[in-house]
Symmetry: C2
Subunit: 309 residues, 2 copies
């Protein structure tokens, strides 16, 4: 009988494994030199762990099964719920900030796409217990340190940064009510994947008139280099609520990575658990999908039974 | 909500992860310095891949599930079927011998036991396309090289070696028919896990009388240091069919590892696919379960659609 690797997975022969090892070793080297400790969890978790954060809808995107005792389990689609579970269990006994990384494989049951397989390797870098823009800037710094370690410079990579509260504030001013805010975020997240007419129609359903939609679209398309928050403030007409972004901007300059970064209010990240700064990293042309992304999640550990942090 | 790691799995916090990394790095170092290249496969495979080698019975020992297209998949319980699939697909284009290793996680749906979890990390070292005792001795050498790398010596570890054809020959001489040979092997494999009376009764069902069972049990309990095949031959009264073991014995001395090794005809290894030399490695007291095991599988690649090798 002849067999192939399952749909959406890869075999790593010595040549492709050498690339994987090179990359995973680079993740480890960069994490460790920035003071992060490696952790890992099981390849499968209780199915309920994923429902806490993402609701019942997540089940269709997971490979799930029962064990002989009838327990519902799922292969991990991402690391954050495992991390939150581990931190929640030990939070009171761990010195803060907790700086942990994980370099491991994850699986999603979705249709394989270009650059998006069913089994994939991912690097996770998390800081917990440090409630300041320093933590956001340090996570961004570690990713940039990897790019530099791999021989890339700021002319190859663009870090796009946004802030969910700032976007929420702008949307609110434009007339999006709190009850429609999540829908507005989801629409924003899909903006580049749908037709302009479809975008305008959906924005209309959120209560925005054509002129406001145009203005909104325009704001999302503007980019502001890090260090120039004054431009953003001026052009959007914001006179408040930029406190978090101002602190972050200061940190990006202090870390010496401002030239890699720009503000892009079109970035919101699909996941519902982000609460503040969010970012994505792209090859400079922007033609490919983001190679990295992340953000601040201030209430996640509580959600998994841990203390506020 | 509070969550724990699923039954039979482990969380790796920084301290336990450091141990895992230390061990996996040791596996890599030793493999590479012995000329092996690293490979890996998907964390799940088609369920049928495991039925080829082990029959329908294996399904209960696997975590299995369907994808949205209705394909039957299973988390890998071991690496050999993946290896055989990969070798079968490329066998004609690869220079021989193929020397590959894999350091990865595997999952079995069985009841967790002391030293045997549902998710575990395992090092696989395989030589393919080399039909001589050198390949068997080299695999044993690589494992011993790891023990030495970890600071252990021959007074800490015992390598127990047997040969399925030799055991088959002895059993045949004692009156076990070919049709009952597999059952005899399975009985031998379970010998230390069942009561003596149960063993005698089961041996009787294979057509052995009490005296022969005693003799058989005695043979299984005798150990012969490597380099002293003459003792084995003499005490068992074998005058032929030791050719493979003689070649292996010569190689063990040539590799300088004879002092770690002894012949123990009670070792047969449970898996049906071994065809010749089989071995297990134990902490010297023998109190714990084997820390490593393996053997020669001469017809496996053909079974997966590859050429004879």
């Amino acid at each position: 009988m002849k067999f192939q690797a399952p749909k959406g997975t890869r075999d790593f022969d010595p040549r492709s494994m050498a690339w994987r090892t090179f990359l995973v070793d680079a993740w480890r080297t960069v994490s460790i030199r920035n003071g992060f400790e490696q952790i890992d969890g099981p390849i499968f978790e209780q199915l309920d762990l994923y429902k806490v954060k993402s609701g019942e809808g997540i089940v269709n995107e997971l490979f799930h099964f029962n064990d002989r005792g009838g327990r519902e389990l799922a292969i991990r689609p991402e690391f954050t719920p495992t991390l939150a579970r581990m931190v929640a269990a030990q939070a009171n006994s761990l010195p803060k900030p907790i700086k942990w990384f994980c370099a491991a494989n994850f699986c999603r049951a979705e249709r394989p796409q270009r650059g998006r397989l069913r089994e994939f390797w991912q690097w996770n870098v998390d800081i917990l217990g440090l409630d300041s823009a320093t933590a956001d800037a340090e996570c961004i710094f570690v990713a940039i340190d990897l790019f530099q370690h791999l021989g890339l410079a700021s002319e190859h990579v663009r870090v796009k940064i946004s802030h969910r509260e700032t976007v929420r504030h702008i949307l609110g001013k434009m007339g999006v009510g709190e009850e429609k805010m999540q829908a507005a975020f989801e629409l924003l997240d899909r903006r580049d994947k749908i037709e302009p007419e479809q975008f305008t129609r959906a924005a209309g359903e959120l209560g925005l008139d054509v002129e406001t939609v145009d203005r909104f679209d325009q704001i999302c398309r503007m980019k502001y280099p890090a260090g120039r928050l004054d431009l953003l403030r001026e052009q959007i007409g914001l006179d408040d609520n930029l406190h978090d972004l101002e602190s972050l901007d200061e940190q990006l300059r202090a870390f010496g990575i401002a030239e890699w970064c720009e503000y892009d209010l079109g970035i919101v990240r699909g996941l519902a658990y982000y609460t503040g700064t969010v970012f994505e990293m792209h090859e400079i042309s922007g033609a490919e999908r983001a190679v990295a992304g992340g953000g601040r999640y201030d209430r996640l550990i509580e959600l998994f039974g841990g203390p506020p942090m």
